[in-house]
Subunit: 201 residues, 3 copies
C-alpha cells in the first residue's frame, strides 16, 4: 500500500517533468498531455510490451490515468510557479526513480528472466519514459548525455540481487534497494557526479 | 462491408499523406514506402501491440499491404499533380480519421477495457500513424502542435459511449460516431479552429 | 551452429556500428551502450513484438548481451583505430545483413505468416536496428536515404521463397539466400549502386 503510494507520487512527478519539457516545445494541450503520459508510463509500457504482459499496465489500472491527468492540470495551472517547486519536484522524481526500478525488477522476476535482464527491465522502467518524451520532442535523450541517472538504476539492480542472494527478507530488500537508488541520486546531484562524454577526442 | 471499404479508403489516404511528407525529406523509394506504410498502419500497430493482439492486424490481412502499395505508386506517379487533388485527399483523410477511431474503440471493447482506455485506443489508432511518420522524418509530431485533430477523436469516443449508454443500435452507433468526427473535422478546418499553444508565456 | 556463429559475428558488427554513431553525438557511456544495444537487437526486437514472440529474443539468450557488451568495450578501447578496421567491420556488417534477414524470414514462417509478410519481417530484422539507432540519435534513418541496403534484403527474401518453391533443401536454401544478400551488398558498395532520391523535382 505504502509502496503503491510512492509509485503514484513518482508517476505524478514524471508526468509534471513531461509537461515542463513539452511546454518548451510550444505544443498544444493534446501534445502536452501525451508527452506527460508517455514520460510517466512509457518505461513501464515498453517493459510490458517486451515481456508480453499485455494489455499493458496502465490499461488495467485507471489510477495512473487519473494521477497523470491531475499532474497535467496542476502543472499547467502552476506553470509559472513550478520553478519555486523545483526541489520538491526533484525529490518526487527521485522517489519515482527508485520505485520504478524496483517495479521493473519485480516484473522481470515474475516471468523468470535472468537477473541481468531484470536489471535491464528495472532501468528501462525508470528511464525510458524520459527517453520516449525526448524522442517525441525531437531531441537526443537527456539520459544518454548527462548525469548518472540510468547508471544508478543499474547499481540499484545489482544491490537488489546481491541482497537477495544474502536471503534478506522482501520488505527490507525493497527498502534498501530503493533507499540506495534515492540516496545515490541525491548525492550525485549534490556533488555533480557525471560520467565522462565519450566523444572521439 | 461498406465499413471495410471506408477503412481501405482511409488507409490509402493516410499512405498518400505519408508519401507527401517523405518526399519533402528527400528519401529514396524504400524510405518513402516505409513512411507511407507506418503512416497508414502505425496507429493500429501500436494499438495491437499494447493490447497484445499479435501478430498485428496488417500481418493477417494482405489487403492493407496492397492498398498501401497502390497508394504509394499512385502518389509517386502523380506527385506533381497532388496539389490539385488536395481537397479529395483531405476528404479521404477525414474518413480515415472517423473509421480508424471507431476501429480502435472496437478493439478496446473486444478485450474488455474501460471506456476511457478504449477512447485512448481509438485516438491512438487514428493519430499515431502520423506521429510515427513525423518521428521517422525527424520532426515534432504535427498533431501535438496544430489543429484539433486528436481532440476530435476523443470527442467522437465520448459520443460513442454516450450513445451506447442510451442503447442506440450498433449500426446507428457507428454511423453517428464517425459522422460526428467527420463533420467536426470538416468544420474545424473550414473555420480554422485550433487549440491554443501552451508555451510558457 | 555455424549459422549461430555468423549471427553472433553480425550482432557484434552491428553493435560496433552503433558505438560509432553514438560517439559522434557526444553521449556518455550509458547512452553509447544503449545505442550499441538497440542497433544490434532493435530489428529483431521489433519483429518479436509485432508477431507476439515474447519475452523478446535477447531476453532469453544472454549470449547477445555478452557479445554486445564485448563489442561495446572493444569499440570504446579501439575507437581511434576503428578507421583502419573499416573493411573488416563492413564485411561483418554485411554478414549480419544476410543472417538477420534469414532469421526474420524464419520467425515469420514459424507463425505461418504469408511470404510477403515474412519478407517484411526479414527486412525489418536486418534494417530496423539501424533505424532505431538513428531515431535515438535524432537523425533521419540512413537506410531511408542512401544505398540500396534494405532493397537487398527484400531481394534476398524473394530469392528465398523462389528457391523454396523449387523445393531446394534447407541447408542450400540458407546458404544461397544469405549468399545472394552478401554478394549483392558487396557489389552495391563496390559499384556505388543506389536508388534515386524521390524529391519533388
Amino acid at each position: 500500500m505504502f509502496f503503491y503510494l510512492l509509485d503514484i507520487l513518482g508517476t505524478m512527478a514524471f508526468a509534471i517533468s513531461g509537461v515542463l519539457t513539452a511546454l518548451n516545445k510550444k505544443m498544444d494541450p493534446f501534445g502536452v498531455f501525451v508527452i506527460a503520459f508517455v514520460t510517466a508510463v512509457g518505461g513501464g509500457t515498453l517493459r510490458d510490451v517486451l515481456i508480453g504482459r499485455t494489455p499493458v499496465g496502465w490499461m488495467q489500472d485507471l489510477n495512473y490515468v487519473y494521477v497523470i491527468t491531475a499532474g497535467f492540470v496542476l502543472a499547467i495551472i502552476f506553470r509559472k510557479k513550478l520553478d519555486k517547486l523545483r526541489t520538491s519536484l526533484f525529490f518526487f522524481d527521485t522517489i519515482g526513480l527508485g520505485v520504478f526500478t524496483l517495479i521493473g525488477l519485480e516484473k522481470g522476476m515474475d516471468v523468470n528472466l535472468h537477473p541481468v535482464i531484470c536489471i535491464a527491465l528495472g532501468t528501462m522502467t525508470a528511464c525510458f519514459g524520459g527517453v520516449t518524451r525526448d524522442i517525441l520532442c525531437n531531441q537526443i535523450p537527456v539520459v544518454f548525455r548527462r548525469e548518472i541517472y540510468a547508471t544508478i538504476c543499474i547499481l540499484g539492480g545489482g544491490v537488489f540481487f546481491l541482497l537477495k542472494a544474502l536471503d534478506v527478507s522482501n520488505g527490507l530488500l525493497y527498502i534498501l534497494t530503493s533507499g540506495v537508488i534515492i540516496i545515490v541520486r541525491l548525492m550525485a546531484v549534490m556533488f555533480k557526479w557525471s560520467l565522462p562524454s565519450l566523444g572521439k577526442n
